[in-house]
Symmetry: C2
Subunit: 364 residues, 2 copies
């Protein structure tokens, strides 16, 4: 058994005394889940139990605990890894997972994104400027009209055109028909513009169909995939990212995951969930609602996602933060200052009316 | 396009005026996700938009909104169904999904549990009394020792013996070895007791292996499966429940799902998540932490799970609530009063020391 351990940083509500008790409880709850005093086996006590590495006051009512686990307990599988770091304690109020510090063997096992920032830039042929993404929408349009929009967006200079995340396989726009038409429309536009705009097909779908849909999308010429791990499971995304026969970049959508991040006391931080975990699970870009839009993320929370998307994690490539909503031409400068150039701006269809000005703006 | 609609009941924080605004926003956010005023297509306006059916004050700071959606938007797929009812609004604070009222076509599409209460009773050959479940643990024991425990539990009269949820495929107890030995141990005990005790193998595993692990478990003689949809995705569980070649009852574990239920203001209610949704997704029994144990669920929350597990949902069978933790002999009477006989008591290994008294107790 490897002795190697990795660390997880949690915020724990309560006084120092209470937090210390809760931290010790996490070490047991997340591993043996058994009365500690009844375990006499020294191998289990010394290696399987979690360990509180440090605990210190964060603010009046919160402590920061650093807890480490033996890598063997993760089984070197993402599903059990997630269970180990937050499975049962997700049910206990006052514990928030803040960040991960992976150890060598985990950094080797989890390949992360297939493309990452530089790979996606290479596919698109765009060296330095921020990337532009938009969605074909609204849900309810037929495939032909969605493809018409895709064509216009591609002609107008958008880099990545994705399905709106609610557009999946409805009878008014069945998956195969839509993907075929949209991919074709974008290819046609690319021939005209000489660019490499990508159409990313939403493949959120039944567990027994998702791989087939990914392959179909690729076959029809889609250049990327949209996946919501909250809906299909993080490891389903990881499995698709790892598949050499699919070999497409993945835009990760936060649908159904919001509840994890909206409390300061519970759940998982923006940094860990939308930065580190999405990245471990193979996302090439993480979509999230930008501050100042119709959602409630703060500027700091958005920035923390960008940080988690790029923090050093062995050979796991940095990925793009992809803030969406609340984006308008007069905010470009502010957004560039905040995110820098390593960002994908997910802009509303309305902005398209500005033509290519935005792209010129970003390139300058 | 079908005109059929189904309803979702949400709690919305705020005054009546604020809640009314938020309810209207949900109708747009969860469907077209597009400025309402820009949509002129009457088909979309009349059929795709969600609709506020009713809104009333629940208490001082909360309203109850009943919102309906066209079934077509669900694509008749569980993944998009979950996205439709809570995908994007999971990111908006102050909205909690309370319950579902499915319509005929959805009740027909979603088969729910394969066995349900009566099917599981039939497998076990137990007509009326509450069922008893326990877990082999702690994590860290080798497969032989886990199998030894399984044998003793089965001899002692336990009905369902499951892997502890953190025991998956670690090197100190690899999946195949453990499942083979545990299933064999339980079969051996059954030959002695003449009973039909079931061993439920934990198959939480990589997306590309989980079906194979389910089939392996069946092949080795496991009589049930343990699945955590928070880890592997709800539709993965549904897919396994629907698979005729697997054909095993499913114990559903709440790992990683806790965050959804621990706030009164956000997320999803215990009733909907651990009752209705788990059931739609094919669970035959839903494990949850009982009140009065080391977790924080209240008596009312636990009871609401039992209600969601049994509420009339077309032909979708009622399933067992499976409260765990905090269970001891002197609480049996209280628990029976609360849950009635249609329950699986998930009891700690320690209780096993009482021998078969507990079973005689429950049978009387």
């Amino acid at each position: 058994m490897l002795k190697e351990r990795f660390s997880v940083i949690y915020s724990i509500s309560g006084s120092r005394g209470e937090a210390s008790k809760k931290a010790k409880d996490i070490c047991i709850e997340q591993t043996v889940e058994f009365p500690e005093e009844l375990i006499t086996d020294s191998l289990i006590r010394n290696h399987i139990f979690g360990r509180v590495e440090s605990l210190h006051k964060k603010d009046k009512n919160t402590c920061t605990a650093r807890i480490n686990y033996n890598v063997e307990v993760s089984g070197f599988e993402l599903v059990q890894f997630l269970n180990l770091i937050f499975g049962n304690i997700s049910i206990k109020p006052g514990i928030r997972l803040e960040s991960l510090e992976l150890s060598p063997s985990l950094l080797k096992i989890f390949k992360g994104p297939r493309f990452g920032r530089s790979g996606l830039r290479r596919l698109l042929g765009i060296k330095k400027r921020p990337l532009l993404c938009t969605a074909v929408k609204p849900l309810g349009l037929d495939s032909k009209r969605l493809a018409g929009l895709a064509y216009q967006f591609a002609i107008g200079g958008i880099d990545i055109i994705k399905d709106d995340h609610g557009i999946t396989n409805q009878r008014f726009s069945p998956f195969e028909e839509r993907v075929r038409l949209c991919a074709k429309a974008v290819q046609k536009a690319n021939e005209k513009t000489g660019k490499n705009c990508i159409y990313a097909a939403s493949i959120n779908s039944p567990a027994d169909e998702i791989i087939e849909r990914a392959r179909l999308a690729k076959g029809y010429g889609a250049g990327g995939l949209l996946i919501s791990p909250g809906l299909v499971g993080f490891d389903t995304m990881r499995r698709i990212a790892d598949d050499d026969t699919i070999n497409l970049p993945i835009l990760c959508h936060p649908g159904l995951l919001g509840t994890y991040v909206i409390s300061k006391k519970n759940g998982i931080s923006h940094y860990a969930l939308f930065g580190q975990i999405a990245r471990m699970a193979g996302a090439d870009a993480m979509i999230f609602p930008n501050y100042g839009g119709r959602f409630s993320f703060t500027k700091e929370e958005c920035l923390s996602i960008a940080k988690g998307a790029a923090v050093r994690m062995g050979k796991i490539k940095p990925i793009f933060p992809c803030p969406g909503g609340g984006m308008s031409l007069n905010r470009v400068e502010e957004m560039l200052r905040l995110y820098g150039r390593e960002v994908i701006f997910l802009i509303g269809g309305g902005l398209f009316t500005h033509g290519t000005n935005l792209i010129e703006n970003l390139s300058s």
